[in-house]
């Protein structure tokens, strides 16, 4: 029996969890596991808004990959994927290296979707990676530090485009961060604006109306300016132009962060699969259409929920469950056994509004306030435990020690 080459692309939630499951499930004879990732570290995308706001440091949100994988079982390659050649069953890397595979797991994550809005790509930030989150943090700090010299009001205007999960969580962190920034840079807090712009009529689409209202009122009472039912028409070096029907309005701001949409990594479309918003509609066993050797999971994949007839939302908990199923199906393939249908279970979701407020729904039950804050920490800490056991939990976990 030949040892199978298993290649995993990306070490986000999907890639790292698939790797961890495979290194337990497979014997050395069954499979050689290779993991490719751009950075030497893994991070939690769902916490990047804290790094971007500056309320938490990026080192609390990343862990070196070789600290969580079994380096005797997994070959980690720090490199960038340039091309997936499915016919030749190989992957080309930026360094010039080529990796061959018998089975491929594509877990390359998301990109911001700008829907062709002019200027967004050039003049706005997106909360997409540790590097970009850190850039946002430093940009805000630098702009606040320059305020005393240039004294332009728009230097203190922070525009967040999009009122989905990430947008609102980021706004929540900014509410908490601004007083600290004002103290650090000797700025009058009343001059700072936090502006949230959303094309839809409410924030947090998909959440129960009472949670939406709770979050909206909480943030509004803390000074957040909401522009709902407004499209961003253009983003310029000076700010954004928003429109409602025929009415246009300019909001001047040195900082614009776009959280209004994501799509699958564009590499996935480039390798020939049919995609919608960069995402491949995978089969029930998570394999790509017409290719029995390629699994696609996480933000690059669309998997339909049979119960609702709608795709599962792109989220960490769904991806983590896909990763486990993906690893089991690879094991089944190697053993010549039938593959399982993967049916992730939606257990609930909690959105934080800074470190002291949150809203959510857990096992069908609505929670707000302290309960939701505690639940959010439990979710984050549970992930760390899954990832790196008790040691990692102690190192990076969210605890308040009294």
């Amino acid at each position: 029996m030949k040892t199978a080459e298993i290649l995993i692309l990306g070490a986000g939630y999907g890639g790292i969890m698939t790797t961890l499951h495979l290194q337990k499930l497979l014997s050395i004879q069954e499979g050689r596991i290779t993991l490719v990732n751009k950075h030497r570290y893994h991070y939690q995308t769902t916490l990047l808004h804290e790094n971007a706001a500056g309320t938490a440091h990026q080192d609390n949100n990343r862990v070196n990959i070789d600290e969580v994988i079994d380096t005797k079982r997994v070959n980690f390659v720090q490199d960038e994927v340039c091309e997936i050649q499915t016919a030749e069953k190989r992957v080309l890397l930026k360094s010039g290296k080529t990796l061959l595979y018998d089975y491929l797991v594509v877990a390359l994550g998301f990109e911001p979707a700008t829907f062709g809005i002019p200027g967004l790509k050039e003049h706005s930030f997106s909360i997409r990676s540790i590097n970009e989150a850190r850039k946002i943090r430093e940009h805000i700090q630098c702009t606040f530090a320059r305020y005393h010299h240039e004294k332009r009001d728009e230097m203190l205007a922070l525009v967040v485009g999009g009122a989905g999960f990430t947008g609102i969580e980021f706004v929540g962190e900014l509410v908490e961060r601004v007083p600290v920034l004002c103290k650090e840079y000797d700025i009058d807090p009343s001059k700072v604006r936090i502006i949230n712009i959303e094309a839809g009529q409410t924030i947090l689409p998909g959440f129960a109306p009472e949670l939406v209202n709770y979050a909206y009122n909480y943030l509004k009472n803390r000074g957040v300016e909401f522009y709902l039912g407004r499209m961003i028409k253009t983003c310029t070096p000076d700010g954004v132009i928003i429109a409602q029907g025929d009415d246009e309005e300019e909001i001047k701001a040195d900082t614009v962060v776009w959280t209004g949409g994501v799509q699958g990594n564009s590499l996935v479309g480039q390798c020939g699969f049919p995609t919608a918003r960069g995402r491949v509609e995978v089969r029930k066993d998570l394999r790509a259409p017409h290719d029995d050797h390629i699994f696609v999971i996480g933000d690059c994949a669309v998997l339909y929920d049979e119960q609702t007839g709608r795709p599962y939302p792109p989220s960490a908990q769904i991806t983590i469950q896909q990763a486990e199923g993906c690893a089991e199906n690879i094991k089944a393939l190697l053993k010549g056994q039938p593959l399982k249908e993967i049916k992730p279970e939606f257990k609930g979701t909690v959105a934080s509004l800074g470190s002291e407020e949150a809203i959510g729904i857990v096992f069908g039950k609505i929670i707000v306030g302290t309960k939701a804050v505690i639940m959010k920490k439990i979710i984050d800490n549970r992930y760390l435990y899954m990832l790196g056991g008790f040691n990692l939990l102690l190192k990076k976990g969210k605890f308040k020690l009294f």
Copy 2:
């Protein structure tokens, strides 16, 4: 007997120390003391290079003025001086207020001197205030954070123009800071350049050659690139163009900090006194020429040292001694007593090269290494003690607690 109005402009070393002496020397009947300063805080100009490099936080280098003055004795006005009208004995402030005086102390400090070098004003930073130092720190951090996205080598090039006291002390801090920055922003330290450009043939003019060599070798061994005997011809948005004779060379750098010269505050020239590099040649009792009611001290004043026939250098220790003399002479004026000639004493000087190395001359004796580091701390701590007693020393002093 009429109570005299004593007005002190500026709360740097000179202004704050004059205030502290006067509030002790004068009775309430003798004089009403008013202190005007742009900021609510006093800071040590000689430590700003640490704030600019980011090795020390600005809050360790500033103290609220109302924490050190006796607010029952001194009227503190936070405002900016716009004009001194000597004929009318009044001072116009930015807020529109006018202050009348019987005796005026001008202690408005320095400005960077750019010697007409094109572009320096627009494209370089100077280490002149808390606001500007913080701006330098944030600019470097933000540029390093953006490096992963733009990957231009010049983003990691730090040019320091001038190898005098401030320039070299700043370079010393940068040497210490760069490894920390590289860790924070995931940058390979070997890509970062610290470049010092000096028109003269050596660094630290005025220091003993053995100290100059010691400092030069220490910094060079830590990777600092020195361009000595080179003038900065132009500063551009891309860096600097330096010249040696007819040879020109461009050094690309996103960060250029100019420390190559200072001059007296330009307000002093505007009020009609003859000045050279913005400094008034004062009489031996520290009064301005032809005006018996105005004292000028610190970086706005030139006082000649009779022993050497040369002016005292603009330095904190000379200014602090002038402040004491100035207060005593105001007291003498009020009493109708003869004024003293002020002869500051040069006790020595220590230049730090980061927190773990220093060079200096103290009471005529050359010191380097640990001795000099300790002496520098003693000097800084002694000033805090003079300024705010034991409490302030405990709060802001430089100690290593084991």
